[in-house]
């Protein structure tokens, strides 16, 4: 069991200290990412999913810090506690790009506009491999070709603004995959792209997962994407994981009121205009004025006084866990 783990996060807390306030952006989050599997993390914007990703890569802004918990990376040479490494120190740099790579939401801004795409991919190879310049060039072209970019020799010498959005995201993936990382973190990789391009990017990611045994952490706010790509899911709300499990567990047997509300708010194709789409009432609370207990309580239809205490995590099965004080009663009524 343990040897197919790629990365595990335990009780992670990451707080932000901007404007002389403390924002508990990630407040006790645990999950594992397994080799050759995709973990989907889903939630509304501001729920802490991107911060979790940045924490794993230690790409946090200056005015933030990891408070508690651990991020463990299972490398070929044993376990590495990422949270204990110096932020931009040599050990952390050796992991970034080589062991854990990341692709970002907006490929328009994530590439440096003044360098050619080939140069930017080559940079990774230069710092993580022993290849000589000629070999690096060949590898760049090979990578671009693998990502389905036509005319890779020509494309490598072009600038990001010559690329379309989908092409840029492919180039980003090529860059991330250049050193065969064990873990790939994809932070909303298709949000900025057209739906047709989305499918191509997903196919590419599935291919990488099966061929290279890469562990993927996929961050999204789109339940549809989760259904299609993920093996496991964690649902985040206001810095906590409210429910987690396999895709079957969470999408077919949702236990937490928030998960259900999310699922109910998605229109289903083919059900026509009359379908009953429920929106979640209220808005996400001000991160500085958090509810005392369950973070979702103020917006929850089932909230009672029991919800004024932070609920414990309960395991329904080996894989399925939920943090809700009343999930049993609610489940019975439903």
């Amino acid at each position: 069991m343990a040897n197919n783990l790629a990365l595990s996060v335990k009780d992670l807390k990451t707080f932000f200290y901007t404007n002389k306030r403390c924002n508990k952006a990630v407040n006790g989050v645990s999950f594992d990412i397994k080799k050759g599997k995709t973990l989907g993390i889903v939630g509304e914007s501001g729920c802490g999913k991107s911060v979790t990703a940045s924490t794993i890569m230690q790409l946090l802004p200056k005015l933030s810090r990891i408070e508690e918990g651990s991020v463990t990376y299972y490398s070929d040479n044993g376990e590495i506690r990422i949270d204990q490494l110096e932020r931009d120190g040599p050990e952390m740099r050796a992991i970034r790009g080589e062991e854990i790579a990341m692709i970002f939401q907006d490929p328009m801004t994530a590439l440096n506009p003044v360098y050619t795409v080939g140069y930017q991919i080559e940079e990774s190879l230069k710092y993580h491999t022993d290849l000589n310049p000629a070999e690096r060039k060949a590898r760049v072209i090979e990578l671009l070709a693998d990502m389905g970019i036509p005319l890779p020799e020509k494309r490598a010498t072009e600038y990001p603004h010559n690329y379309s959005g989908g092409m840029r995201q492919r180039a980003m993936i090529a860059m991330a995959m250049s050193c065969n990382p064990k873990v790939l973190i994809a932070d909303e990789p298709t949000t900025a792209l057209d739906v047709t391009i989305q499918a191509q990017i997903f196919n590419l990611m599935t291919k990488l997962k099966t061929e290279n045994d890469t562990a993927i952490m996929l961050i999204t706010h789109d339940m549809g994407v989760i259904a299609e790509l993920a093996d496991e899911v964690a649902v985040m709300y206001m810095g906590n994981i409210v429910e987690a499990g396999t895709v079957d567990d969470v999408l077919r047997r949702p236990q937490h009121p928030y998960t259900r509300a999310l699922l109910d708010s998605i229109p289903v194709l083919g059900r026509g205009k009359d379908q009953d789409i429920k929106s979640i009432r209220g808005a996400t609370p001000d991160p500085y004025e958090r509810p005392i207990g369950c973070q979702f309580a103020p917006r929850c239809d089932f909230a009672t006084e029991a919800c004024n205490v932070m609920p414990d995590e309960e395991f329904l099965s080996d894989t399925h866990r939920v943090s809700c004080a009343r999930y049993k009663e609610i489940f019975e009524n439903a």
């Binding site: 050796a94 970034r96 590439l111």
Partner: protein
């Protein structure tokens, strides 16, 4: 690239014609008319009225306003800028005589302020919030707030009059014209002239650098595991460079303007101090022509800046 330059030139030429027209208008409004300045006043005084009338006829002074303008413009394009009212020297001679000194001073200041300003700005941005950053910010603020000539006076008092290390003014003494004879003369005016621009470049490159460092591609670069120096310089500074070059281009007129006052303070024999003398002596043709030439210099500089930005930034090259 060539079409880019040509297109850019095509925009500049109508501007130059329009500005020439305004300058011409100025010459027509001030005593004497533009074309008559083409005659050397010394000559005009020594010849008979009949001969003068003939010359006026020959120069087309009796023709209509626009014809006179085209005659004048034609002369100017050929390098005949007319004559100064005092002494009747050809303006082109005066300018050619004075230009090397001004160029020397401006280029010194430009290089100094670009190199020092950029480096300090980048250091300040990288050490954001540190005591170094605060100190540089306050110094930069002082630099843009102290009047240049006042700074020049203090510098003269300390380094020339009291300490006697450097000469208080002038450019070179007759007979001493090797590089090392000149160097002491340019240090004070050069540094004083650079001061304001250095401060400006520093403040600007700091904010351009901060802006560049906050962009997404910096995070991408960091996620690739690149060392910090490479993230800051190869990625951060390279992108911050474009706005800095544009700013330096925009500041060139200020530099040319600043040299007017500084040249006077240090009795530097350049175009600027000539201009001040011309304004004092109401030597209109000389004032107008120097102004016209300064516009020409500014437009030329902005053309160079545009070409430079296109070279630095691949996005501009195509657009």
């Amino acid at each position: 690239m060539l079409t880019f330059i040509l297109r850019r030139l095509l925009i500049t030429i109508p501007m130059l014609v329009a500005i020439s027209f305004l300058v011409y208008l100025g010459l027509e409004l001030t005593p004497g008319d533009a074309v008559s300045h083409m005659i050397n006043p010394e000559v005009a005084n020594s010849i008979s009225p009949e001969q003068l009338a003939e010359m006026r006829e020959a120069l087309g002074l009796n023709k209509s306003f626009f014809e006179r303008f085209s005659i004048w413009l034609f002369n100017v394009v050929q390098g005949n800028f007319g004559h100064s009212l005092s002494g009747g020297v050809a303006i082109s001679t005066i300018v050619l005589d004075r230009l090397p000194a001004t160029l020397e001073l401006s280029i010194f200041a430009l290089l100094f302020s670009t190199v020092i300003g950029c480096s300090l700005g980048v250091i300040s941005a990288l050490k954001r919030g540190s005591p170094t950053d605060s100190a540089l910010t306050v110094i930069g603020m002082l630099g843009v707030s102290i009047p240049e000539f006042f700074f020049g006076l203090v510098a003269i008092l300390i380094f020339a009059l009291n300490l006697g290390w450097l000469p208080a003014g002038g450019r070179l003494l007759p007979g001493y014209d090797s590089f090392f004879d000149r160097l002491p003369h340019i240090i004070l005016p050069g540094i004083v002239l650079s001061l304001m621009m250095t401060a400006g470049v520093m403040r600007y490159s700091r904010s351009a650098m901060l802006d560049s460092l906050s962009r997404e591609f910096i995070r991408t670069a960091r996620s690739k595991g690149l060392p910090e120096w490479r993230i800051n310089l190869i990625h951060g500074f390279r992108v911050a460079l474009t706005p800095v070059v544009v700013l330096i281009g925009f500041r060139l007129p200020t530099l040319i303007g600043g040299s007017v006052v500084i040249e006077s303070v240090f009795q530097w024999p350049g175009v600027g101090s000539e201009l001040i003398d011309a304004v004092r002596g109401s030597d209109y043709p000389l004032v107008m022509m120097i102004a016209l030439l300064s516009v020409f210099a500014v437009l030329l500089a902005s053309l160079i800046v545009d070409i430079l930005t296109a070279l630095i930034d691949p996005r501009v090259r195509l657009g």
